[in-house]
Each structure stands twice: as C-alpha cells, then as structure tokens.
Symmetry: D2
Subunit: 240 residues, 4 copies
C-alpha cells in the first residue's frame, strides 16, 4: 500500500517555531510515522512542479494525506480537480486540520466548510463518538491535547456518514473533529488536530488515529460500476 | 412562500411529442400544479437573460425547482455558482430527473452523479422507503408509472441523508429515486421521474410528491451560524 | 393535534426544591407551555391507573412527551410495550433528559442507552449541529444554561438519523444532546436538558426546542405499509 | 478469529428438498465455506442444550452468524437477551434471510422487522449500492440468483447506517437486502438471500459477501467506554 503525504510546506519556511517542532516539515513528520506503521510512504509539496502530484504519483497513491493552510489558493484548479477525480475513482483521502478549507475538500463536500476558530493555547479533548470504528481502534475514550487551536461549530459540512470524534475546548466550544465521508469509490477521513505551532503530530495517540484513518481509507477491490446506456434482462419483454 | 421553476425549455422547442404533452413547457406544467397547491410560483428558462435567475429572482425564491437535460453546459459557470451559493444560504432545491447531471447538483454533491439509463417505455414502480417522511405524505406504498425512462444503480451520489423512494424497472434495475440532502442551510430533494416524452408531470401522485418536496425544502427560520474568529467564555481562563 | 405529557412525578413529591421550581409538577410545566403553543395537551403520571396511559389516551395521542428518572422499573412491561407499539404505529415521542433510561426508549433503541453523568451545577452550552432542521427553528447558534447536570459521551445509542445539538460542559465533556430517530412509522426526538433541581423547563429557548420537537414528531398522513404475502405484477410471468 | 454459525436446523429435518441441498444442514454449509476462508468456525443449533450458545461459546465468539425461520419463538428469552448483550459488548452479528424475524434482531433493531414476501421461484438481482464498502469487495455490480423467495419493501427496520445492496425481483418489488447497523460496540450485517429450498449458500458470490460480512463485523480493539458518575477536569473550577 502506497501513501503520499502532501503539505503546502510554507509555515515551516517562515516561522522558526514551526520548523523547530517539525525540522523535516509537517509532511516529513507525518511520513515518518506512517512509514514506521508499514506503509510505503512518499511526500509531495506545493512548490514542486505540479505540486508534486504528477499523474504518475496520483495513479500509484492508494491514500493521500493532505495538510494546507496559508496557500490553498495557490493549488492550481487543474491539480485540485485531478485529485478530486482520483478520490472519486477510489483513492483514499485523509484531510488534516486547516485543510478543511482546501480546494479538494471543498469540491468533494459541496459546502463552504467554514468554522469558528481561536488561537489561545487551549486544552482540547477529543471524545470517541464511535467506539466500533476501526479508526478508533486502540484509542481510549478520549485523547487530550494540552494546547491546540480551537475549532468550533457550526462546521459547514454535509452530515458525515460516520461521526468518529467530538472535540471539547476550554473556551466553550465543541467540534465534530473526526468524520468520514464516501464520495464515488473513495473514502475520506477528516481529522481536526494539527495546528502548526503545536507538536500535535508527535503525539502517539494522534499518530495512531491518522494511521488507522489511512488504513480505513484504502480502496477495496470492488470493481468500478458501469454507467450509461444499459441493456435490459433478456427474458423480460418490455412494453415498447 | 415563493417558488421558482427553472427549465432549460429546449425539448419543447424541438420535439412536437414533448410540446404536445407540455404545451406550456415542462416549467409551465410544474408551475401550474404548484400554483394550485398555494405557492406563489414563477418560472425561469435557459434562454432568458441570466437564464431568468437574476439576483432579485434568486433572493426572493424560497424553493427552486430545476429541470434540465440537453443543455447543462450552456448554464454559465457564474449562474451555477450563484445558485449553489443561494442553496447553501438557505434556498430549497428540488432537482428533477435528468437534472442529476446539472452543474448545480454536481457542485452540491461533489460527485459525478452518473447512472445507468435506457429509453424503452418500461414500467416504473417507485416504492416508499420512508413512510414517516413529509415527502411521502398521502402517497400509498408505491407509485406506478406505465412508461418511463429507466435509471439504474449505481447512482454516483453521496449516501443521502434520507432515502425516500426506491424504483423498480421492468428490465431488471433498481434506483434510489427519491433522496434528500442538506447542504449548508439549504435542503435538497432529488426526485427521478419526468422524462420529457412521457406525461409524468400530469400524474397526480407525482404532483403530490413534488408539492410535498417543495414544502419540505423550504427554509426554516434558523439564523445563519456565525463563523470565523470567536471569543471564549468569559469566566473560563485559558492556560496561555 | 393532541399532546400527552407523561411524568413519573416522584421527585416533586419528595424534594421540596423540585416542587418549588415546578409547583404543578414537571408535567404541569411542560403541558403549560405546550398548551400555550396551541396543542391540545393532557398529562399522565406513573401513579395513575395504567400510568394514565389507557388505550383511549394512547390512541388519541399524536405526540407523547416522556420524563422519568427514579422509577423506570415501576413502569409495567405491558404499558411500556404498548407505548413502544404506538410509536411504531405512528405516534411521535419526545424523550427528555433522564428518560434516556426509560423502558420505552431502550426498547426502541435496542441499546443500553447509558452515559456519563455528574451533578455539579455546571454551565451547559447546547450548540446547534443542524441549522436546517425545523427543531432548531428560531434558535440562535447555541443555548446556554447556567447550571445543569452533566451528561457525557459515550452515549450508548444507535447513530442518530439526525444530530441536532451537541452539548459542551464546563468539566470537560461533550454530549449528543439533541438527536432524532425514526422507528416504524414513528418519529422520536431525544433532548437532554431538564434535571429536576434546575428551572430548565422555564427557559424560553428550551421551551421553543421542545415545542418544535413536538411539531416535528407529529405523524404524517402516509398510509401504513402492507406487509406479508404479496401478489406479483400481473403482466410479468415468473419462471416457476 | 472465532466464528459461530447458529441455525435452527428444522427445515433440514422435515423437508427432504432442504436436506438434499444442505446435507450437513444450512449451518454446515455456512461453516464449511467460512472455515475455508480461514476463520476458526463452530456451529450451534436450536435443539442443543442452551441452543448451543453457552456462556463459554458466546464469550469466545467474535462473530455470530444467525439463520432461523420456523422456530423463532422457541429461542428462549434468556438466550436471546444474552446474545443481544454480547453484541452490545462487541460481538459481530451476521443476520441471514428469515432471521429478520429472530428475537435477537428484533431486540437490537427496536422495530417490527416485517416485510412483504412471496414464494414464486423468481429471479433476484442484488445491486451494489455502496461500491466503497469492504462487504462488496470483489463483487461485480450485481449478483443474480435464478430463483429465490421474494422479500419486498417496506422493510420495517431503522434507516441502516450503510445501505450495501438493493434487490430487484421479477414480480415488481425492491428490497434493502444488504444493510449494516452499529449497536453498542457491536456491528451487525443483515443479508437477505438464503431461502431454504434454493441452493443459495452454494453460490460463490453469496459466499464471498457473507465472508466479507463476517470480516467486517469483527470487533475492533477499542476499549469499552466507561459510563456512570464521572470526575471533571481538575483545573476547571465549576460555579457551584
């Protein structure tokens, strides 16, 4: 199974606080624990040609992990459309944190994907809302993060197919912070945590959830449905 | 409550069979029974300036009914985007038959919205899958249409919020022919029947379902959620 | 439309704090604002013969509102089964607060319906998770209750058909505090607030939600599906 | 992984047609292909002591497969309740065909679980409604069974969490024939085909679906949520 981690990789270049936490970039850190979990893992970033997402890379990727924040608009329409199409064709997609506003996620959701937010070093508790789900495997009843950015409802997404985590924030908000969606033959997992100035992706429980999410999002070998003009049953005579 | 019926109005101009069934156009027929049901009803068509969907019309419309088939591509990107945004802002949308492939529906679904089809004068039975739903109010356990175009699974849509009807076709197919979706503050009802060469919109049960659908899709007076930067509870001190 | 409010009416008899807040009983208070909202409203309590839920009362009730806590076990199996059957046959049900553990709700859910709880005079914020829903009509983005009992996840219910409210509690928990379920031809709304020692049912926003919930839960006039042995289409010859 | 196949095993004793198709009983045939698929598989039948479902057997079973028809009422209340509880505690459950009316399934659903039916040797086509799901892995866009009993809507179940298959029947009906439900920590898959007088469980595609269903229903290692009285966050002072 082949995983590609995509990152816009801009905070890392501008903000020493971020590059200190993630010396190999956010993508480097994500790739590192996914590699250890046994996936063949590559990375791609915004400033590479075609944002690192050539047809070859996309066609070979089983699950794409996406982190973006500052530069959603710099992702070309063409690449965003291509990634969306690959998801509909069966590539899994794990959408992290501020990537709720990425072109790819917005195209797949069909909604504005906006939310409330606040940077205030607040405690976050992610409560497990679905203890039967493979994404929560091995996770206790909540994950606690000492400091994170707040994201609050109303989160402008379609009602998820499955609600996996609900976050609590110190300042009075809640958030549907883990949610799954199926679109076409692709499976999508949105997972909230991961503001660039906190060491969230060093947290082992968070790593476990992302690893579980990647595993879950991988395509099953169901054939693509045939669409278009279709023949009737032979032995049933229509009334034409 | 103000309803606008949009129709591309092309079959009616080209095919005498269609104009015989719908002398006032498909939009005229839809508007006629919706008016009788007590809604203030207007119409809009593709060839009018701005496709008849000016800002004024859209802003005053509570529920938009959409029929299109031949000319989805002639709907401008600008108008399609505007209609999508109005739905997210709370306008109801009833999507009929071949409008599964309209720009507006595809943008809101995020998927390809493709399906199987066959024109063979086949019998269709629409079975009620949800007998608690206001959209099925007054409808018996199925609606039978002597002749219709076939639409078959797999229908490439997100799992609907509610599955209202499942169709059976003589030639061996099934179809999720009535389905609801919430997007942003808007409610969407997709309803399958209505191929232009059959008198489907003269059928009283079909009229009842569309009327129920329009009623259901109307916006509730819930305020639009505020998003963006948000203040914490006053008496809770964050750890910053 | 006929509403019946059922209450076990035991705290009111034992605890002066409760009878001070609700001199007419919790049922009296609920009935009072539902009556004002225009419903024909009656009450029924545990200690009446047949718990006040005779066949006559049940058959005439469009929506039943249920509050219970101390004495779930004193509701006879026979009456609980009868109420469940009436819901499946189309009577609406609004389940309040500690009635999550009532026999009727547990039978209809098929799960344990357990949760976390704490009595600590904590602030509760009920965030609107579905701003398209008639149950949130007229409600701002959250309802704040100065003091309530805490209920926390994991709430052992089936994934709701619709998630309407998510609660935030001061002590670190979240809860799916407004949720809808369809069972048979009946509609069920679970709504969390209403611990007996707080004046929650005097809060106008809470009253608005319960009123909206009652309206939503009322049965639509869809005929009851016929089940059992069924005849095939006449003109389709089976292969037997 | 340990699978137990439960069968009431009565048709096999009464009807030579059935024992000819299934010389080892329906349970024997189901166990045979599940064993080949790599599961450690046992069987249990109605007439064994405790219906073969002792505490030992239940506690060691990861996924229980259930077939019953004539003798649902002979399953003791005590055993039915115990099986239900084990599902809520995390045991997977695959419910086949006429077991829609089993005590265990009805208790877990909370509804009547009734449907239309007809024995007329009709063709059935099971269309894949969810081509992303592990249960449809390796299955083409439909499975065709030359002869089966008809089951028709309205099927009186809660809206499933996931709709996997929709059946078409020659005589004019449709049916939600593959559906998943989560209850407590348990996962449930209902799968329609398998009338005792047809060789349905010899069909390799049907075997594939049941095998996939068993795999899917197996419990994930998520800890059981703690419920009951719960302590608040230490550093957050409540207002009491």
């Amino acid at each position: 199974m082949k995983v590609t981690v995509w990152n816009e990789n801009r905070h890392e270049k501008k903000n020493p606080k971020v590059s200190e936490i993630y010396p190999e970039g956010i993508h480097g850190q994500l790739a590192s624990f996914l590699e250890k979990a046994g996936f063949e893992t590559g990375t791609a970033t915004l400033d590479e040609p075609e944002h690192g997402l050539t047809d070859e890379v996309l066609n070979e990727t089983d699950v794409l992990v996406w982190w973006g924040h500052l530069a959603h608009d710099e992702v070309t329409e063409d690449i965003a459309e291509k990634v969306k199409q690959r998801v509909l064709d069966g590539m899994g997609l794990v959408v992290l944190h501020s990537a709720h506003f990425s072109k790819v996620f917005k195209k797949l959701m069909g909604t504005g994907c906006d939310l409330k937010w606040r940077e205030a070093d607040e405690k976050e508790r992610l409560w497990v809302a679905d203890p039967t789900h493979p994404i929560t495997e091995g996770i206790d009843e909540y994950i606690e993060l000492e400091k994170e950015e707040m994201y609050g409802e109303h989160f402008d997404i379609p009602a998820p197919d499955e609600l996996i985590f609900i976050s609590w924030f110190e300042g009075g908000e809640v958030f549907r912070s883990g949610a799954t969606f199926k679109r076409g033959r692709g499976k999508i997992f949105y997972f909230r945590p991961g503001h660039e100035t906190y060491p969230t992706y060093h947290n082992e429980e968070i790593q476990k959830v992302i690893t579980n999410g990647v595993k879950w999002a991988a395509n099953t070998a169901t054939p693509t449905p045939v669409r278009g003009n279709h023949q009737p049953l032979e032995n049933i005579s229509t009334k034409a």
